[in-house]
Symmetry: C3
Subunit: 136 residues, 3 copies
């Protein structure tokens, strides 16, 4: 299987990073034809989402996550910054894996879809993402 | 890879549409044996869920989404109908991709599981769904 | 496709069960090299999450689910125990499928990631999980 680990800088605040270009580059360099692109985050406090970026929805997602998983003292997980326990619940809702059809070497995304790394954990400013291609 | 795009009518209100029959028809016509069925929605305001239909849970899901992602003025995304910004956050929680094992040509779903298109966006009455089969 | 169904005891209360060891055993016995591990729950009231276990986050997830999907009378689905309707919405948020890259026979999980069965439904004390391997 063609597979590669990239590093993404997410910084010290909650962040949504558009990595669509990196996935496209990977597929190009892998000489991908048709099959499945797989995006995997090997971290316990981050996820992958396919959403629109650049029109406010990336910030809207972080706001929604603040509402669903508040950064307060309710969490039993007590390591890291105060409220960090919520980052460990994130991947149950925003899973750390996504798969996208690849047709003739190109991601079959819709016009407004981007592949995004979602990282609410400010304690880890850089993240790894594993990109893989399964030919079919 | 065997792959096909179907059109699903979701109407002008939030909707959950059971497309299990369409996925089964696709697998049959593709001559699928064993592998992975992949369901992908190429839209930024819809998702795929595997839930029971016909006993109220489809409506329950829409109610839960109204609670988690309210249709109000909180969203930074300002295009479309009022509150439409929440539709753009939906795919982070209800992802636009799902994969299901296929054994001897049949979806290995549980008795009460259906493949459902979840579309809270009333501005797009028809949707596309890409069905693919990866032989293994 | 190499595929196997295992039985997991989840008991009569909401539970998060770490099944990473079972997935690793399956891959070993399947002689898996590189490809995709697929975990699928053929039930309409359970999901799969990749989270850290053993430091409180498994309980935190159940608490967050109680908040997002309360066990009360709001649900239209009326079968089973009171509030059970929320269990049927769970798989829309915590999907019953997960895929994980396998490199040289090993799950490419991060240090703190575990594969977990999430089952809020106390009415079904045992569950099935289908493990599959797609070589690439």
């Amino acid at each position: 299987m063609q597979s590669e680990v990239i590093t993404v800088r997410t910084g010290s605040s909650p962040a949504v990073r558009d990595i669509t270009g990196e996935v496209e580059r990977f597929l190009r360099e892998a000489g991908a034809d048709s099959g499945l692109a797989h995006v995997f985050v090997p971290h316990a406090t981050a996820g992958v989402a396919l959403i629109e970026t650049g029109a406010g929805s990336d910030d809207d997602l972080l706001t929604a996550l603040d509402d669903v998983l508040p950064t307060d003292g309710r969490w039993r997980h007590r390591h890291g910054s105060p409220g960090h326990g919520r980052d460990h619940v994130l991947p149950a809702f925003v899973a750390p894996h996504a798969s996208i059809p690849v047709i003739d070497g190109r991601l079959a995304l819709g016009t407004w879809q981007s592949v995004c790394l979602v990282d609410t954990n400010g304690d880890n400013p850089t993240r790894q993402v594993r990109l893989s291609f399964l030919p079919a």
